[in-house]
Each structure stands twice: as C-alpha cells, then as structure tokens.
Amino acid sequence: MKCTVCRGPAVMDVRRHNANFCAEHFLKLCRDQVAKAIKEHRMLEPTDRALVAVSGGKDSLAVWDILVGLGYDADGLYLGLGIGDYSDASGEMARRFAADQGLKLLEVDLPADHGFDIPTGAKAAKRVPCSACGLSKRHLFDEAARTHGYDVVVTGHNLDDEAAVLFGNVLHWQTEYLGRQLPVLPERHGFPRKVKPLVRLGEREMAAYCVLRGIDYIVEECPMAAGNKHLGYKEALNLIEAASPGTKHDFYFGFLARASDRFTPEAEAEQDLLLRCARCGAPTTTELCAFCRLAERASGGRA
C-alpha cells in the first residue's frame, strides 16, 4: 500500500476518498479537513477564545490537538460525570494530555459540584442515561462558556456521529432536531456558538490520528452506551458504507446543502420562547431549565 500523495509506504487507508496515506500525509489530511470545515461553515475567527468539550476520548483530544496546531486559542473543559471507573480513567486521559501539551483544562465535577451522578440522576428522572448525560453536558458547557467568557464551544462530533444522529432523526422525523443539526449553531439568547470541526472526518480517522500523534485516549466504552440506539444506527450505516463508500458523507452533506434549511423555522420558533431559569439563570422555555429539573429530581427535591 502506497501513499497517494508521496508514493512512500502508507499506513492508513481512507476508502471514502479511495486513497492511502503515510503518517505525515494522513496527519496533514486531518488538519486540512478541519481547516476546510472551519472555513466553509465559518466556525471560528482567529481571535476567538474556544472552549473544547474534552471527554478523554479520541475525538475530543484530536480536535483539541488539531485546533491548537492550527493556531487557535483553545482551552479544554472536562466534565466528571460520576460514571465509576470510566469517569476516573477518562479524566486521567484528559488531564495527562493537557499536562503533556501545556494546555489549560478546566474541570467541573457533577457529583461534587451539583450533587448527583449520571447513573442515579437518570434513574431518578426516569430518563435513559445518555439523555440525562447529554442535557447535563450541554448545560454545563454553555454555563462554563458564559462564566469564563469563551466565544465558542467546540465538540468532537465526527462524520459518523453526525450521520448516525441524522439517520435517527430522519427515521423518526424529529423535525425540531433536524432544524438544529448543523455544524455551527450561532450564538443566541445566551447560548454560546457551538461548532463541530470534525464533521469532515470519520471516527476511524480520528482514532488513527491519535495513534499517529502518540495521543493516549480512553478506548474503553462508557458502560452506559451499551445497547443504545445510536450504536445501532452506526452499524446500519456502516453496512451501507461498506457496500458504497462515501454514502455517509453524501447523506450528511447532502442534508446540509439541500434539506436542512427546510427545518430551521421550527427550531427558531422554539428559540423565541426563551425565558431565564429561576434557579440558575440559564436560557430555558420553562420556569426551571431541564438541567435544574434533573438536579432537583436526582436529589429528591432537595437541590
């Protein structure tokens, strides 16, 4: 196998591009794809202060590494979710990466700072763990960005993630989610701008990026992920992708180019109703924001 760029020995194949790469040209491909996504979707300005949502996994460490490499001012935020050994190990990965690279990592610990963890919070609120987790993450990243004056929150969602979420939203015609499934959500109503610079890269590429850059990340899965629908959607898409490489890319970018704007009015109508949460001041459509309702239920109404 030879590098498509330099004809030297290749280490990584990317079927979607029908191309192979040596380590040097593969890393360049990743940086170029991120730079292209940032430019095409106008994600970041050179003067922005960015806060990267760091989980200790491959995607978040890779996006942080790439942004810093491209010259952006990017700090990280790690959220301790209280998911047993998994949280301990992933926090360790995040801290080690930040220390090795001399980067600034903020931390929020859900059990210590908010009095509940994801497993018990989800149970108390009768939500599936990933839903309780997702809303907590969004809330705490928004809040940290507001409090510490960041312009933008960066997440490590890659092409596989976005295609799987889109697939799920289309299967169930969740039109309000479709209206918000964009690589950039502009700042509004007290929510910081949110960007996904990895949308042009697949998850196998992000794992390869970390291996080739010598970045240690948590390979173990979160124990809460087992059996969730998202994984099933990924498997289904991977079967289709195997038969015709490039389908995921066409599905997601075709949606952005030709369909996503048909769903935005609905998302906007909802955004117009925003109030302030009586407990934490976050923008919300109800008296208490979803995070504060979760926190109240998790603590049996004592929060």
Binding site: A23, G57, C130, V211, V219, E220, E221, A225, L231, N238
Partner: protein, 66 residues
C-alpha cells in the same frame, strides 16, 4: 503471534505469518471498524504479521449518543 482485543479485553494466540486483512477476516471483524496497531503505530491491511508479533485490534466505533 499474540493478538490483543478490546471491549472486552481478551488475548488470542495465532500462528504467523499472516496478512492483516486475513487476520481480520478470520476473526470476522469488519476492517472499517478497527485499527490494527503494532509497536504504537498502525499496520496497513496488506502488511504481513510475523509469528513473534504482538498486535492490538482496537475498535474505533464509540457509542455515546451526545
């Protein structure tokens, strides 16, 4: 060769030499869902693994819904 698998962690002993693609086919693993790693770097699919090699087959699909 020694083959290390993750999620869950387990180890297999298989005879070399064998190509990476052949190893994955034998274990019925879709090659788009893993990286094969030897001495901290990626081994391409057409590379031959020797009898003394220690390789890791690392899954790359993560399941978090958000």
């Amino acid at each position: 060769m020694q083959v290390r698998l993750r999620n869950p962690r387990r180890e297999l002993e298989l005879p070399g030499p064998m190509r990476v693609h052949a190893l994955l086919a034998q274990l019925e693993i879709d090659r788009e869902t893993v990286l094969v790693i030897r001495s901290d770097t990626i081994v391409p699919g057409d590379a031959v693994l020797g009898d003394d090699d220690v390789v890791e087959i690392r899954p790359v699909i993560s399941g978090g819904a958000s």
